[in-house]
Symmetry: C2
Subunit: 228 residues, 2 copies
């Protein structure tokens, strides 16, 4: 893919769910903060511009990490987060001056995404306009309605991960829509504008670290991946 | 709950997915096989009869565990598994001589179900006829159809766990239905007969151990729970 590549890395949250003062993306697994692991994976692609979206109260935390881990790197731009994920991603998009290119949106707290999957998402988004990582549910699923719950055919339902990678111009168009509570990710914003969401296979180790159990699991995944 | 309680513990599989000769339920976490952890949790309830369903080729593995961990216990009945989960549960049900009582169906490879949740499932099934553990999805969800995928409102979708506990007479009736590939669990069999499936809150640590990553995570959950 010869187009300019952007990655909006979204870090939100106050860390309340972790029982910790510090937001999850600043917690350390192995020897480095989660956010550093995440950014390093994206920076291993060529022609990659990172737009890091963080709550303004944590800008000073980032400054220290920038100096320690990325002091030579001019390809990371820091942007103020919004009051919702939608607003944060929108702020990230507004910080991109171009309209041509490809843009991945990724959770700061998903440090284990394989580099090969990031690359695949850009290649697919280049040819098809979008590429969203998804995995099959291992559990049975039920849909809750006004008259109780009903079984959902799990063969036809997928769990959505990030990165979610798009043609930049299309995602810019999509994010002009009015915000809705149905927008739980970028794919749902993208399809609300009539664009087609293309799924690619994610992986079960690409976890989102949101609970203390997730953090425990993250330590295990990291120690296993170092042994490989 | 004064009614007789039954628990059908279903252990299937050849262990192929684990990259191991031995099926998952016989793998050790902490000091004991997964299956022993699971059965012990159910035996902590009073008036509990266990029906253990295993592939016949693993009966000798069970015999050793029975002698080592449950030699004094007369409340565990061993039953031959079928070619599908549906057939295995049906075999378990046929081994119950009574028609009155309550029956939980539980995956052998879910050793971390809280005892309080097992109790709650029996209390709820006693009053409402069924109780199925479920948790909210932490991920966004999409439904795959012939024209591509569409967002599913994750507020209205739950991931289903076990135990799934039922009025015995109703579950016996339900299992007279012809088997269908849509039956991924007992709740889906139960509702196919027109019975109402009642959901209760599960927990994220009640994992089903099916992959090597799950087994790693299981070690973490166990070591944490021992510290509490």
């Amino acid at each position: 893919v010869n187009l300019q590549k952007y990655a909006i890395i979204v870090g939100g949250g106050s860390g309340a769910r972790m029982g910790s003062e510090l937001p999850k993306q600043f917690l350390t697994i192995g020897t480095k903060p989660i956010l550093v692991h995440t950014i390093e994976r994206f920076l291993s692609l060529e022609a990659m511009q990172i737009i890091l979206v963080l709550p303004i109260m944590y800008f000073s935390n980032w400054d220290k990490l920038q100096q320690e881990y990325f002091s030579e790197n001019k390809n990371i731009k820091l942007v103020k987060g919004g009051s919702t994920r939608f607003q944060s991603v929108k702020n990230g998009l507004l910080a991109i001056k171009a309209t041509k290119g490809l843009v991945a949106v990724h959770d700061a707290v998903r440090p284990f995404v394989e580099i090969s999957k990031i690359k695949e998402s850009f290649v697919t988004a280049h040819s098809l306009g979008s590429a969203v990582l998804a995995v099959k549910s291992k559990d049975s699923l039920r849909k809750i309605g006004p008259l109780g719950s009903k079984v959902l055919d799990r063969e036809n339902v997928v769990l959505i991960q990030t990165p979610q990678t798009f043609d930049l111009e299309k995602l810019l168009t999509a994010y002009k829509v009015e915000e809705s509570t149905l927008f739980t990710d970028d794919a749902s914003v993208f399809e609300a504008s009539g664009f087609l969401v293309n799924l690619i296979e994610g992986s079960y180790s690409n976890i989102k670290i949101t609970t203390p159990e997730d953090l425990d699991f993250a330590h295990v995944i990291l120690s296993k991946s170092l042994k490989v």
